[in-house]
């Protein structure tokens, strides 16, 4: 398959900068897969897994927030966090999940609950992706 260049950046650094054959991202409106020569696109990214294919090999990652932009052939995924499966600290994610579950039960107002639910979703996504090495 034809390869194309993508950049994946987070505030903590460049997570990926190179050629891929495909990029699959869970956007807020469902999965979107980008192949070479994709038309211009803009989508907001939610919490979930992403997948890149390099030399026929699939690599999974957990993404949280940000957006996906394709402009003039430049593909960029600007995320708040982006971790490849092998970078995920499973133990930490499980602890975060337990903490978030407790926080949902203890939440006093809507905002607390919303924050805790978002945390839970992130932890769950990490745990799920960690098993997809």
């Amino acid at each position: 398959m034809k390869a194309f260049h993508i950049e994946i950046v987070t505030p903590d650094g460049v997570e990926y900068d190179g050629e891929v054959e495909s990029l699959l991202v869970r956007t807020d409106d469902g999965d979107v897969e980008i192949l070479a020569g994709h038309t211009d696109l803009l989508a907001s990214v939610g919490v979930g897994r992403a997948r890149i294919t390099v030399d026929g090999k699939k690599r999974f990652a957990s993404v949280n927030g940000g957006f996906l932009s394709v402009k003039d052939g430049k593909v960029r995924l600007c995320a708040i966090t982006f971790e490849f499966a092998d970078q995920i600290d499973l133990k930490r994610a499980e602890e975060a999940k337990a903490k978030a579950e407790a926080a949902i039960k203890a939440a006093n107002d809507d905002r607390d609950e919303r924050v805790a639910k978002a945390k839970l979703a992130r932890a769950a996504s990490r745990i799920k992706v960690a098993s997809m090495k």
């Binding site: 950046v9 650094g13 409106d29 038309t39 211009d40 696109l41 932009s69």
Partner: protein
């Protein structure tokens, strides 16, 4: 008489040496903090640049989006990033000077980040949006997103008509420049030639409403990183100068002390000699 002045000089040498020890320690701390802060800049700069490029050309033809609406910035919000501590040369003062120039003649709201910034504007009874962010060194990506959400909400409901961030750009180890950047409204390039409108996954307005707070948060976080590095660098330079001054002062004081000591000895010898001659 001479003995008293010798003691004076001695105690001054002691005090300057004490000060120098402190400034030396501060320089070392600033240097090690600077190293970490520079690593952070290195990693956040690409995000700042790429996110700017990606958002820069956003256009929704025919629609007047709240995010791109041109404004005169009559009652803007200024997010002012200064340090948590002083003794960093002109670092804090430069930021406040720039902000004052920018806000002159406007009904500006201020969102101070950092203890010095908070103190400065509380003291002057400025119109402060939130006092929650007293420690700039502890601002995380999550905090930056919270701030961005607050700024975007205020912008959307018309509380302010523009959002700027005032921070110090880390140009190099010796140069840090206070600068400002417009966060909202987005400076879109809606030219007649028109960039081709991208395909939106879903309702364009909804997407932008979700993306823009994250964009603002991302840019804000990287400006915080720049500011932190600039603060450490400014402090390092200031402390380096303080060290040099201190060692210069000590040198002249030691010279003075030795002269005074010699004068005392000479006087004593003269006294002894003249005493023995008198016998």
């Amino acid at each position: 008489m001479a003995g008293a002045s010798m003691n004076d000089i001695k105690s001054r040498i002691k005090s300057v040496t004490g000060t120098m020890q402190i400034t030396k320690a501060m320089e070392l701390v600033a240097t090690s903090k600077l190293r970490r802060a520079r690593e952070k800049i290195e990693s956040s700069r690409p995000f700042h640049q790429i996110i700017g490029e990606a958002i820069g050309g956003i256009s929704v033809s025919g629609e007047d989006l709240v995010w791109t609406k041109k404004s005169e910035a009559k009652h803007p919000l200024y997010i002012v990033i200064a340090g948590d501590r002083g003794l960093a040369g002109g670092y804090n003062a430069n930021i406040f000077r720039l902000t004052q120039m920018l806000t002159a003649g406007k009904e500006a709201k201020i969102l101070p980040l950092g203890k010095k910034s908070l103190d400065h504007y509380s003291h002057r009874n400025a119109d402060i949006l939130s006092k929650k962010f007293g420690y700039v060194s502890e601002i995380s990506v999550g905090d930056a997103l919270d701030i961005a959400e607050m700024a975007c909400a205020g912008f959307e409901n018309g509380e302010f008509d523009a959002v700027f961030v005032v921070y110090t750009r880390f140009a190099s180890m010796i140069t840090q420049t206070p600068v400002y950047e417009q966060l909202l409204p987005l400076e879109s390039e809606l030219t007649e030639s028109g960039s081709i409108e991208p395909v939106y996954c879903g309702n364009p307005e909804e997407i932008l409403n979700r993306i823009i707070p994250q964009y603002v948060g991302g840019v804000l976080y990287s400006t915080v990183c720049e500011s932190l590095a600039s603060e450490s660098a400014a402090r390092r330079t200031a402390m380096n100068a303080a060290n040099k001054n201190a060692s210069e002062i000590i040198d002249t004081l030691v010279l003075k002390y030795n002269r005074a000591r010699q004068a005392v000895i000479t006087q004593e010898i003269t006294e002894i000699v003249s005493g023995s001659e008198a016998l």
